[in-house]
């Protein structure tokens, strides 16, 4: 074989590979790799943050840390509302999972063993297992807490259970189901407050402390049942000024002002339901925006079952701002004590209201409404039982700012002012006042059977003569009477927020919630407007003595007394204390009487105390001015009486004004001077004490 032959044999392959097949294979592989590479690129670089967020949202959770609310103090810095540590017993359901599973299997087995069993509801059995296990632990907890279980000696066989009536003796199954749905990430509360505020009438402070101590010292530190503390609202004076202070209730509304970057950083993380407190009623409600503080949070990893596992980071909460009210605890206590001592035939305190305010600044020193409630009993949880109890007694209503009443004879001051300002009478004019005044076909009586004879302005105010007011009312007419009442603001809504003092950003807010808005100052068209026919002379004389259609609040009458003391028409009341406040009373004008006329009014009010209808409440060595009133009102279709007194003190150079109202009942003997007077007297005495007994000039 020649060399060429051998070359030919090598260069020609026996089965040549066609190139297009290779290209197809390479292309398929190349496309595949490019696809995978692009996919990786997309997932790792473009989608990475989303995927991290997605993973985190499934494994991490934000748990809110509610802030402590700010303190509320009186004008002298005494604490009216603060926070106290609340010790709660909680169950860590994650630690109890084994025990719950065991119980669940037992329940399932028992259910399957039943002959008539058709369909097993496994979810219900799981829930039942949780309830059973927690009930067993709860039994142990109560066993430790129960004082009677501590056997002092073998002979001591006392079996009385401590706090046997506590509603938390057994697990609330629906509360547990709600917890599993909404707040599984948190521990389940078995006993919400070991000091048992709702049962404080049954147990002493030491017994409450004892239950905390017994749990702490007798339960293991690292067990599934733990004790945790948080802050809860505390009202050291109990029910004192409850309508002004208000109370707090549960809220799921998150305080807004936390970390500014929070939403951006944790946008996609799941967040636990916020369980904090929000103000309800009183300053707690109106000043909530400042008192509530700033919420904190914790970022936790969670288990697949939704329980929290490990704390990753946290952001502390910040306590709310402090607030200083204009109230004076001592005067408030004196007023509440005096008002509380006025009782009906079965010994229940009569409903009523009392107010004392600083004449110059308009700051309210005491504001009382009765019946009241104890906000400490609402601080942990607002129970329907206690809520209904307050509702039944009428304790929710702030009678001082919301109660609408006929002002009775205290309105006679306005009738006198209207008479003098209209020129129909003067300060020294004398009117003949018999036992009745006939208007139309009706005799309007005097409260003195033989009448008072010759009466001028001073005497009228001292003895509260009706006939004088009937006659002046008829001279002046209903429209001028109404105009005068409106000039003193008796139909204006009070307690509008002053942003400079309260810090509120809402100029239309009020310092106390829902102040009365439907005051009635009737004029000659009023009856027609409400569809009760034409206005008559009888309506006018009734209005002139502060009865009939006219309705206003005790706070309005206190403001009226304060304006009168300054010789002006309006007083802007406030519940906040500001020592740097420059007295300013919105829309206030001079009273519009000459010196003699104003003196007549003032002297008449002084004589009311020294010799008139309020003589029973004189304070030896101290002179003050007052006007009493006893108005009729209908209760359950029968006549009862409202007792009023308004005034100011001292008589010369007045510094405080007051108004007191007591709602008489059908079977009570209620009179302005005798019933409401002592409350005013108690407030003045306490104010004198706090002022180091200043004497009148």
């Amino acid at each position: 074989m020649s060399p060429d032959d051998s070359l030919n044999k090598i260069s020609v392959p026996s089965a040549p590979i066609t190139p297009w097949r290779m290209y197809v294979i390479f292309t398929v592989f190349a496309v595949g790799f490019i696809y995978i590479f692009c996919g990786l690129f997309y997932r790792q670089l473009i989608q990475s943050q989303d995927l991290i967020d997605q993973a985190n949202s499934q494994s991490e959770v934000i748990v809110w840390r509610p802030p402590a609310r700010g303190k509320i103090m009186d004008r002298n810095g005494r604490t009216l509302v603060e926070n106290r540590v609340r010790w709660s017993v909680k169950a860590n359901l994650l630690s109890l999972e084994g025990e719950i599973d065991k119980e669940y299997r037992t329940l399932v087995k028992a259910e399957k063993d039943k002959e008539d069993n058709l369909k097993i509801n496994y979810e219900n059995l799981h829930q039942q297992a949780r309830v059973n296990v927690l009930n067993r632990w709860l039994k142990k907890i109560w066993f430790v807490i129960d004082e009677s279980n501590q056997k002092k000696s073998p002979s001591d066989k006392k079996k009385v259970k401590f706090l046997a009536n506590s509603p938390e003796r057994e697990v609330n199954a629906s509360a547990l189901a709600k917890h599993m749905r909404e707040t599984r990430i948190l521990k389940f509360t078995l006993i919400s407050d070991l000091t048992f505020p709702e049962l404080r009438n049954q147990i002493s402070d030491e017994e409450a402390d004892r239950s905390i101590a017994r749990f702490i010292e007798q339960f293991p530190v690292d067990g599934p049942i733990t004790i945790e503390s948080d802050m809860i609202r505390s009202y050291p004076f109990g029910s004192l000024a409850c309508h002004t202070l208000g109370y707090v209730k549960d809220s799921n509304q998150l305080p807004p002002n936390f970390d500014a970057n929070f939403e951006i950083s944790f946008k996609k993380l799941s967040k636990s339901k916020y369980t904090g407190k929000v103000g309800a009623e009183g300053v707690e409600q109106t000043y909530d925006y400042a008192l509530k503080g700033i919420s904190g949070w914790e970022r936790w990893t969670k288990t697949s079952a939704g329980y929290k596992r490990e704390l990753l980071e946290s952001y502390p909460s910040q306590t709310g701002s402090e607030s200083m009210l204009s109230l004076d605890v001592n005067i408030q206590q004196a007023a509440e004590k005096a008002l509380g001592s006025i009782k009906d035939s079965v010994g229940n305190p009569l409903p009523g209201a009392a107010i004392m305010m600083d004449v110059n600044s308009g700051e309210i020193l005491a504001i009382v409404s009765q019946p009241n409630y104890n906000p400490n009993r609402l601080a942990s949880k607002v129970t329907s039982k206690y809520y209904d109890e307050i509702q039944e007694q009428g304790g929710w209503m702030n009678r001082a700012t919301q109660g609408l009443y006929a002002p009775g004879s205290t309105f006679k001051i306005i009738t006198a002012i209207a008479g003098m300002r209209s020129g129909k009478i003067d300060y020294d004019d004398i009117l003949e006042c018999g036992p009745v005044l006939r208007v139309g076909n009706h005799d309007f009586p005097e409260h003195e059977p033989y009448g008072f004879g010759q009466v001028d302005v001073e005497k009228m105010l001292a003895i509260s003569c009706n006939v004088w007011n009937y006659r002046v009312g008829l001279m002046v007419g209903p429209d001028l009477l109404a105009q005068e009442a409106r000039r003193f603001g008796l139909d204006q809504t009070l307690l509008k927020t002053n942003p400079a003092v309260s810090g509120s950003e809402n100029p239309n807010a009020y310092e106390l919630p829902s102040p009365a808005r439907r005051m009635i100052i009737p004029d000659s068209n009023y009856k027609e407007r409400i569809g009760q026919g034409n206005w008559t002379g009888g309506d006018t004389v009734i209005t002139a003595i502060g009865q009939g259609f006219i309705l206003t609040t005790p706070l309005h009458m206190a403001c009226f007394a304060s304006s009168l003391a300054r010789g002006e028409t309006r007083t802007t009341p406030t519940i906040f204390h500001d020592p740097t406040r420059i007295p300013y009373h919105q829309d206030s004008r001079p009273i519009g009487l000459n010196r003699n006329q104003l003196n007549a009014i003032r002297e008449g009010m002084i004589r009311c105390v020294t010799e008139g209808t309020a003589r029973s409440i004189q304070i030896p060595g101290f002179q003050f001015a007052a006007k009493t009133g006893t108005a009729e009102y209908y209760k359950s279709g029968q006549k009862a009486h409202l007792a009023w007194i308004i005034g100011y003190a001292p008589a010369k150079n007045p510094q405080v004004a007051f108004a007191v109202l007591v709602e008489g009942q059908l079977d009570t003997n209620t009179w302005g001077g005798l019933t409401a007077g002592p409350v005013a007297q108690a407030m003045i005495k306490e104010w004198l004490n706090s002022k180091n007994s200043p004497s009148d000039e």
Partner: protein, 297 residues
Amino acid sequence: MNNHQKGAKASYIALIVFVLIWISGANALHRFTKETFAEFQAPALQIASKGSDLSRYWELKSRSNEELISASRDLARINAALELRLHSIDDIRRENTRLRENARYTSNSEFLTVVARVISRDTSSWWQKIIIRKGRNDGIRPGSPVVFSDKVIGRVSAVHLNISEVDLVTSPTFRCTAFLVGDEKRRIVYVKGDAANSLSPGRAKITGIPIDYNPPTGQPIKVLTTGLGGVFPSGLILGEVDGSIRMSTDDNYKVADLNPAKDLNMIEEVSVLVPQYPTANEILLAPSEKIKLEEFR
């Protein structure tokens, strides 16, 4: 496969079987093993402790006569001072007895005192525990308070036949309630052991101090047991507040560190206050005591 390989294989199988039994075994098995280990270890600890006492004895015996005379003289002086004090205490005791008789007041002590020597201590960052040379045979029960004079040392956490384990005040598993001296309202605070790091001695933490608590100025703030929890008698000294009282992170209350009343590294002898009657916690947590919950209902 030779014999050596077979033996090794059998060992591995035995080990795996043992691990499986241990994992799947009941709690009772674990408890039994732990208890057996503790009882097995106890004689060794006791011998070591007694050996230590003996060496201390011989070390003292080797001192010169001059040293002994000097020490004896010092002791005589201390004795004289103590006798004087004892005399005044006798007067107080007589007065107390007289007043009790006048008031017809009788009270039974709620605790029996058992004095025990410390045979081992572990105050490392994790355990904060001591072992004492008295156990179940001496009447010690779990949960009993352990004191030195009027100072709290800790609480019995586990009891074996002849030895017991005591969680010190600084142990993370120790907690109790206390009053701070100077708080006129006598509000309870919460004392809990706090694991120390490796470079510093153990500490405990006081939490729940009311915000308006004003500490007395110029004197250390003593922390006393409340006696409300049913475990510790009242008025025992837990220690003193160490450093300043500060606000908690959430501004809810104040917190402080507690410096234990007794140097826990130097304790040689303690007293165990054994309650005369079982506490609720013993009944709940020690079923072996054979006391049924229902008995007390």
